[in-house]
Amino acid sequence: MNTNNNVYTVVYTTVVCVLVAAILAFVSQSLKAKQEANEKAENISQILTAAQFGEKSHWSEIGNDATIAFYTENIEAALLVNAKGEICGELEGDNVYSVSDLKKQNYAIRDNAEMALPFYIFKNGTSAIAIYGAGLWGPVWGYIALEGDLKTIAGAYFDHESETPGLGGKIKDDPAFRAQFSGKVVDYADEAAPFAIVKGGAGDKANAIDAITGATMTSKGVDAAINNWLKAYEPAIFAAASCCSGNCEECCGECAEGECTECTECAECETKANEEE
């Protein structure tokens, strides 16, 4: 047969393309459930790692199902908050934001558009916020866990798409980099940078950590991502913290639905309020 015939060539390429497309569609469909479960468990394990429930390797050891089960047991609420600090939704059950969701929110933050940022609150009082931004070669994202006072950082976890392994990749692979975050305090009063990743040593500053040597651009990217997102979260963090923070902190009792139930009964607070007036 003459395989150089025009009709034959066209028919042959068409058949090959359709066949390959069919195989790919079939494989993609049959593996989809497993892939999505992997991705979800990965996102959840990153949040849990940031919130100091265990090291990252622990979650891959116990597997997807156990990780998701641990999350649903320990999560108090996964709220969605907007730029005004209002709660505008909730993620039910074991649903968490995927990386592409974070990417969309990052555009919203950049454009000052309507946003719905995830705010994971755990039963032990820790909460986790997400961050997303640009590293050197591609996006970087991660989670920052805050303690009950919403100022002290409990822990952090970062991931990236294509930072240089051994340099920028350390934001994910080097536990020492992540460990620096624990115990640091976000300084909301500093409007330019509530938190900083400093080249050349952060010293004793409470709201700064050391950058990674040889990965200036990645460090800067993470720094910008944290600050952009922290500023977007700020109203929501203030709203959540208002009733139980500041000087009332010690006398305040239960914090329910944004109201502090016992605050008015506290003499110290009333005196303070009167003084301010």
Partner: protein
Amino acid sequence: MDKKLKETILNPIFKGNPISVLVLGICSSLAVTVELKGAFVMALSVTIVTGLSSLVCSLIRKSIPNRVRIIIQLVVVALMVILVDQVLKAYAYGIDKQLSVYIGLIITNCIVMGRIEAYALSNKPWPSLLDGLSNGIGYGMILIVVAFFRELLGSGTLFGFRVIPECFYAAGYMNNGLVILPPMALILLGCIIWIQRSIQKDLQEK
């Protein structure tokens, strides 16, 4: 025939190694050799892709219209690469994440297309499969050797386990940051080619 088949299998592994003799597939060997684990999975993936695409192309070699043969080969290679990527995403998610774009970039690896053009299109399926596999292995071997040195000298670990004891660091030893960067992979590769050429005198130009 048997001898020829043996030659097909053994040639790409040393005498006609795709990286150190033909100098193909250099880009990915620079990119994924920072850590052994990644290099190992990459080697495995490339071996599977070269093997299977050589097999498929050899099976359909008589029906491929000559004028569009490159495109057809490309479609077959792309199919295999996407299959490998999908399977890794489902069953080895962590490793797939680590290799990120480089799995997809196997498509552009010159070895795959090179073997199809040079061998699979003019040989029977069985030898073509073997040729593809052993070229993948030849490629993988170099990858693993380079990754071994880069991970050992650059991070002090092998397969993620610390092998250089803490007391070395305490005594002032430091990981070599240069080894982590791609240029050092090129230099290591150069050393491998140098060693091979001094053993295999027939490769030396006069």
